[in-house]
Amino acid sequence: MNQAQIDAARPLPLTANDVRHRVAALAKALERTRMLRIIVTGAAAALLVLLAMRALLLLVAWISPAAVLSSVWQLLNEPAARFALAFVVYLLVMLRQMMRWQPITPVRAALWYEEHHPASHAVVTLVEDTQLSGRVAERLASQSRMVVQETVPANAAVRSARWRALKTPLGLSITAIALLVIVSLAATTPASITSARGISFAADVNAVNPRASRLAPWRIEVTPPAYSRLPTRTLTDSGTVEALVGSRVQLIGLGDTSGLLASVSPRAGRETSLPVSSSSEASPGWSTTTVVTPEPGVIKVRDGNDSRLLVIIPKADSLPRVRLAAPLRDSVYRDSTGVLSLSAEVSDDYGLASAAFEVILTSGAGEQFTARTLRLAERSFAGARTGRIVHELSFAQLGVKSGDVLHVRAVARDQHPAASREFGVSETRSLRFARAEEYDSVAVEAAPPPAVDSSLLSQRMLLELTIKLEARRTTIARDVLVAESRQLATEQARIRRAVSAIVYARLSGEGESEHVHYEGDGHDHGLTVQEGKLVPSFGGAASAASGTPTRVNNNVSEESPIIAVNLPLLEAYNAMWDAGRALEQADPRAAIPPMRLALAAIQRARAAERVYLRGRVRPIVVDLARVRLAGKDTGQNARRLPGVAEPDRVRQLDRRFARAADQLTANATSARDSLAVLRLDALVDAPAFSQALDGVLNALRDGRDATDALVFARRTLSRPAVTRGASSWSVP
């Protein structure tokens, strides 16, 4: 190649003005690259935000499916909302970049050019100083090494710079888009992600956990009745809810209302449809509401062929507990005067409204009774859980008369607003005011009788000792005989005085004994004292003094009932006199016969029939042989129908449970519903089993292995028989 060809092939250097124009174009190209980077960076940030939100939703749905019903989740789940948020992020990123924006001047572009073209010189000088002379400018232009062929100076370097500036945000954007597409394809709803975890017990995973429909997950809001002052509870995706009777139970789910049907079925009642309305809390969402009744029930929501149950277990508001602290027991009063202290303690599970004493005063006798009911010491508690009421009840102010009966109890009412609400009541105390004419027969509970003095000798023991003394008579000295005999005489006198006290008490009501009256002293018991003995003062029984019981009994009919009852005791008393006298004379042989008479008389007195002044009607004993089928009328035999045996509820529950468990692998939705209904039906007959079924349902709901819960429920229902001791197959 000759010089001319070489010169022709050499690129022509630009003029100074051209170089300045090229540098200006370079500056614009660099500014465009920078702007493009800002835009792509913003887009990448927005895409990453979209991806992050989607991932967060999936993660939340995976960890806690019911959380998707929260308002935050609802907001994030809205695509428009997500895009809006991403756009905001995009704008923020753009704004931040623009705030740091500095324009690329020709000088900066020239510096950038010289940095990327080390062979170039003087470009900065040429661009910076526009007042250079023509020759100097042309020389600097030639040193710039810019050539005509380059429309934009340093095209390759610009492209390289552009790539370096854009590759990171572009890469992030593409990755985010790819992940978004993948997530959208693989997990269109959080429900499918949840069900994809699988349940080892059930083959039909989606059927067990039908979260792809509008029926799951759902949220349950329980609003207790206002009077209970309990806060509203929110349950997440539960199949069972326990609530106070009167509570409002609202089911809230996702999706629109079209085609959704809801109904409530009490445990023993007819199914009633429930309205399904749009929910304002979930968009789009549905809700249905019912009120908890005293009867357990189940809400069934149907979505086409799919359905889901919510078992409602009512929790009863207990009646107030009332304890009557005073009076503590029933009683009989001698007088209808005085004051009775009343005291009661009351408590309630949700709050008391009021409490009072209720007094019924019944007056009358025979067939004429009247009653007055009073409420005393009524007090309001305004929702307090516990309280106490007291009152001093004046019998005089109440107008109590003898013969009246007072029934006292305390009553309390809680804050339940129903007019038909029962009262909580205490035990009732019956207080009776004795009539004057019946006081002798009124059973007044006095102090218990004193303990028997075991050191005292009975008549039987005394007789035994006397017989022994008589047997030793020939072997002991006279002094010993006299001393021991007189000691026995003292004991005999003690017993005689005890008997006389009983005789006098029965005759006159006086407790004293062995006192003497004289004829005409105006204080006659119907007895006279002859030689220390008691003798009835009328002729028919005078022979009793002789101690001959047969004669006394023969003449009983001539005497008053009182004397007749006491005659055996009179015989005993008089025989004891004879025995005591013989013992004082140291003649035990002579004492033995009257002592035996006394013992026999005491036995007869014990066996004598008691007379009660206010006696009851003698029970009628029907002479069946005489009256059997002697009636004038003829009836008709009633046909006796065999009764139907009560079904074995536990066995029935067991069979239903086994069927439902078997169904889990074939039709899990149906099995789940069967278990829910079984839980409802078992509430009364097998509450522990019902509670155990709750564990099964929870396991199925949460996607856990339900095998253990099923086994536990089965064991709760029918516990294995326990045999005591080793069986015949045991190794000795």
């Binding site: 029933d330 019924i360 019944t362 009358g364 067939e367 009774f369 009653a371 009911t373 009966v405 029934h407 109890r409 029962e422 009541v425 035990e427 009732t428 019956s430 009851r616 009607v617 029970p619 009628i620 004993v621 029907v622 002479d623 069946l624 009256v627 059997r628 089928l629 002697a630 009636g631 004038k632 009328d633 003829t634 009836g635 008709q636 035999n637 009633a638 046909r639 006796r640 129908l641």
Partner: protein, 209 residues
Amino acid sequence: MTVLPNVSPFVFATAQYESGDWDSAPSLPGNLIDSVARYTSLPVAPQGVSVALASEDALRYPLLFLTGHLPVRFTPQEGRVLQRYVERGGLLFIDDHNHDIDGAFHKTALEEIRRLVAPLTPLRNNHPLYTSFFRFEDGPPTTSHELNGWGDNLVHEHLLAVLRNDRISVLYSNKDYSSEWNFHPDNKRFMGVDPTRFGVNLVVYALTH
């Protein structure tokens, strides 16, 4: 009719409760026992018993008779036994000896039964009770106290009852059968119509339903 061998005889039991005069009709048990023997071949004990309602012994008798003039307030133990008695198929017959529809006995007895068992409701007059032995086409027979205008001056058209599985568990009467049937059975020979025939229906119903 023949007397069934080897069957425990029916024992008429009067319920004894703490709050009232449970023994206000002492001749009634013997009178009804006499009627059961007089009209039926049912094995029956010649004498009735009084059984405390607070005692588990009450569960041994298929029919319990409860009467009185005074307010009825069952103790907690009496309430528990009464509930068990009804659950186990016993029949409690309560008669208001006070023959007063708004009297203390009536109000308190109804309140106690409602609290412990269930509300008492009118028993239809064609209930099998009225045909279980004698036929009472018009329902419960009236009593002389009703017809003479005693107490509330009403002739009560229905008895009240609590039914369980279509069987009477608690039967309540305002008609004062306690007064109507409270006489010695030997006096039946002076009567044209024996007023205790309805008592026979009651016993037969309790034993056959």
